[in-house]
């Protein structure tokens, strides 16, 4: 740890502060959410759900800050490799750093909760503290996973290309965990659900989490499919280049867009639900606020992704610029990349989110509510795509830096 901390730049100190602050905020939000859970009061539980939703983007922010750090730490990590550290040692150092920062922030968050909730429940505090710290460790380890620092000091980004079948398996397993206990309760298998109602709840919750992660990862397939089609039909060089770049690395886009797609999913679902339920407007407004914050935070993930994309392509982009391709055209490539990746993801997320509410309600969902639900789905999908495109537009100053010719002199 001491070795890793030595020679920290100002950027890295800011990043460390972001990680700690994010961990603190997440701890405070989750502790407060747990204290509000009340099965007899639907409004209070909805508020708890909104607070938990707010904690998700904050956790995403912590992870993105860790990922951003891996780019700025590359030189020092390479130095450690040169000094004899194995890749595992380097990864361990990243994990420890992530965990330490998360623990410091989480302790501060827990302290604020304890001061502000002196008469409230306390039992959840140590559990949340441990979970947030562990998340920091995992995030730190994963953030350094894509950076291989060789003993020669050269640093390359190892890229995960293409979709994997395990992504789909995760979804199938999740659906199984949701559907099987439901069928058991209806007597299809003549076997009771283990641990009764409690077992059903745990299985469904675990299943839903798996489905969410699985569907998020499975968007890799969707992105590649759409990018391939867009590349085949491309009329402009900007679209051709954008589609091919996305097609070559759909997994990175799926990861970067995961928070956007989840936000669109929840926003569409919330819209479909709000269409039929008039009460609890304050809780609905809080849910919408949480989703808005999630969308803004997801922009951080996209900025990090754009920065990584530019690092990966700076040599070929600089060569194109040297050959007379205008910077404006390469900026348009970034925008089209974001569009090609975000459009199918947001469209499907909005559709699935809406159907996830409408289908289970079946007969009781009234046809007149469909207009509002559909309009909201289209709007949130559009907002998701727009957010991705706006981030790409905002990344143009980074592009200018990547096009410097000295990038070719290595």
């Amino acid at each position: 740890m001491r070795m890793l901390n030595r020679g920290r730049s100002r950027t890295e100190r800011v990043r460390a502060l972001l990680v700690a602050a994010g961990a603190g905020a997440a701890t405070l939000l989750i502790c407060t959410a747990v204290s509000l859970v009340d099965t007899r009061n639907e409004g209070s539980s909805l508020t708890a759900l909104a607070l938990t939703l707010l904690a998700l983007p904050v956790a995403g922010l912590v992870h993105q800050a860790n990922r951003l750090a891996s780019a700025t730490r590359e030189r020092r990590l390479a130095g450690l490799r040169l000094a004899g550290a194995t890749p595992r040692d380097v990864r361990l150092l990243s994990a420890l750093e992530g965990g330490w920062l998360a623990l410091s922030g989480s302790l501060a968050g827990a302290l604020i909760y304890l001061i502000t909730h002196l008469s409230g429940p306390m039992v959840q505090v140590p559990v949340v503290l441990i979970l947030v710290t562990l998340s920091g460790v995992v995030s730190g380890a994963r953030a350094g996973r894509h950076v291989i620092s060789s003993p020669l000091g050269l640093v390359r980004r190892s890229r995960l290309r293409g979709p994997r079948k395990t992504d789909l398996l995760l979804t199938v397993a999740g659906v199984g965990l949701v559907v099987l206990p439901l069928l058991m309760t209806k007597g299809y298998f003549r076997i009771p659900v283990p641990f009764g109602g409690y077992g059903l709840a745990v299985s469904m919750a675990a299943g839903l989490v798996l489905v969410l992660f699985g569907v998020t990862l499975a968007t890799t397939w969707l992105i590649r499919l759409y990018a391939r089609r867009a590349g085949r039909r491309a009329r402009s060089p900007e679209m051709l280049l954008a589609a091919r770049l996305v097609e070559a690395d759909p997994r990175a886009w799926a990861r970067a867009l995961s928070v956007v797609s989840l936000t669109v999913f929840f926003a569409a679902a919330a819209g479909a639900q709000q269409a039929g339920v008039g009460a609890y407007w304050h809780a609905h407004a809080l849910v919408d606020l949480a989703l808005l914050v999630a969308l803004v935070t997801s922009a951080v993930a996209l900025v990090v992704h754009q920065a990584e994309e530019l690092i990966d392509h700076q040599r070929s982009f600089a060569a194109l610029a040297a050959s007379g391709v205008p910077e404006r055209a390469l900026g348009a490539v970034l925008v089209r990349q974001a569009f090609v990746a975000a459009l199918p993801v947001c469209a499907v997320a909005a559709l699935v989110g809406t159907l996830a509410v409408i289908l289970p309600l079946g007969d009781i969902y009234q046809v007149r509510w469909l207009g509002w639900a559909g309009a909201r789905a289209v709007a949130v999908a559009g907002i998701g795509v727009l957010a991705a495109v706006l981030v790409a537009l905002a990344a143009r100053p980074l592009l200018r830096g990547a096009l410097r010719l000295d990038k070719l002199r290595a």
């Binding site: 491309a234 009329r235 402009s236 060089p237 051709l240 280049l241 091919r244 770049l245 097609e247 070559a248 690395d249 392509h313 040599r315 070929s316 600089a318 060569a319 194109l320 610029a321 040297a322 050959s323 007379g324 391709v325 205008p326 910077e327 055209a329 010719l405 070719l408 002199r409």
Partner: protein, 221 residues
């Protein structure tokens, strides 16, 4: 056709060019040689309008290009110049044919026509069987020949080649040089070649040697 007059360029306190002047005629093959750090690449980049000199002039057909606005300079580079880098610098996600077609597409030519011209150039450079492959699947020599095809496909007036054989073995280097110069001579395209390899310089019509940012000698092999 292309002329440098008293070019001066520095990086911080290090002086890379100290008043270099030279002239390149239509269709001429010029080799710029010299030890590392002598200013070869800086001179090439100044001539190609990629970087601007601090003083001096770069003139194309009697018109100064170093004072052009960035957008104009970019268009001039796209329409008149082709660049070949030491490591090819193709876009890894595109096929060889798409890489060659890309500059034409940026010149707003039709995709089908661009792909057809790209196929023709790949054929002329003996790499037509690589058309559907991506740069990662090509050998160093094949990759560099695709890069040459990309530079030639827009029918530029000057090709700037920065150590085009620097990453290749002797045979691969010879193949690339033959392909580049054969195609350039056939289309009367001038070539400015930066190299520290005397065997590569021997292909040129004329050779100049730089040392410490100044022209040391100018010889005709």
């Amino acid at each position: 056709m292309l002329e440098a007059r008293g070019l001066v360029k520095s990086y911080g306190k290090a002086l890379a060019l100290t008043g270099v002047s030279l002239e390149i005629a239509e269709g001429e093959i010029l080799a710029i040689t010299g030890p590392s750090g002598s200013g070869k690449s800086t001179l090439l980049h100044c001539l190609a309008g990629i970087i601007r000199p601090e003083s001096g002039e770069v003139v194309l057909d009697g018109k100064r290009i170093d004072t052009l606005a960035e957008a104009e300079l970019t268009r001039l580079r796209r329409e008149n110049f082709g660049v070949v880098f030491q490591f090819g610098e193709l876009v890894p996600e595109l096929t060889a044919a798409e890489n060659v077609a890309l500059p034409m597409l940026f010149n707003r030519r039709d995709r089908q026509a661009s792909m057809s011209v790209a196929a023709d150039w790949l054929d002329r450079l003996g790499v037509s069987d690589c058309a559907g492959q991506r740069p990662g699947e090509l050998s160093g020599g094949q990759l560099q020949r695709v890069a040459v095809a990309r530079a030639l496909a827009t029918e530029p007036r000057v090709i700037f080649a920065d150590e085009p054989t620097g990453a290749l073995d002797t045979l691969g280097g010879e193949q690339v040089m033959s392909a580049l110069l054969g195609a350039a001579r056939a289309s009367n395209t001038a070539v400015v070649l930066v190299t520290h390899d005397n065997r590569v310089a021997a292909y040129a019509d004329r050779e100049i040697t730089l040392r410490d940012g100044a022209v040391l000698t100018g010889v005709t092999p």
